[in-house]
């Protein structure tokens, strides 16, 4: 179990660094969603299943949608 948690944490931290380093904002948004989904897995690990449901629905779903709409409005919706 701890090995699985360790792998998820490493993937989360790497994609958090990738959010800051990617030139392409679409890729940064995808990495941000990876961070949110890993976070909802960690919420299940610390025994908070209701918070995990909310994080998966709102943190990964709704906020990614908001980011995507804002990127399209700002003209940054293009992959390089």
């Amino acid at each position: 179990m701890e090995v699985v948690v360790l792998i998820v944490v490493i993937v989360m931290l790497l994609s958090a660094v990738a959010v800051m380093l990617f030139k392409d904002f679409l890729a940064a948004l995808a990495a941000m969603t990876v961070v949110s989904l890993g976070l909802s897995f960690l919420f299940v690990v610390v025994r908070a299943p209701d918070v995990a449901m909310t994080e998966a629905a709102i943190g990964a779903g709704l906020s990614s949608l908001l980011f995507a709409l804002a990127l399209r409005r700002l003209g940054l919706w293009r992959s390089q």
Partner: protein, 157 residues
Amino acid sequence: MSMEFLDGNTILYSAAFGLMLIGIGGIVISNHLMRIIFGIALLEAGANLLLLLSTYHEGASAPIIVDGIIPAMMADPVPQALVLTAIVIGVGILALALSLAIRVQRAYGTLDMREVRLRLEQEICDEAGIEMPSSSEKPAEVIKTPVNSVVQQESGS
């Protein structure tokens, strides 16, 4: 595999502090406004995880009442309810920040914070009727000695 120093709590706390660290670093280092908003979202995620970790202990169960589970063994549900609220408030903060970014781009045509800062200073100086200092990093030259001005005129011509 010797992983005695990597127990579950250490991994989870390092995830929370790592996310907060990357978020703060991104906010401080980056110049693009969208990246600053991404940094705010990462910081928020790390803070939520840290708050939930304060309720968790080894062998805790989820705070759901079923037969055979003692309430003393449950994780504390009060911080979990607070984090639930904080996630929803975080989406509100995100929407506000993104709408402000859209307004900034409409007003200034760019999202680069250095240019936006320069334009803001220009507007303030125009409004106050004073000349803009040559660079925002360099302090303005207040006193000009005659020798200095002569040298500048010569170099200018």
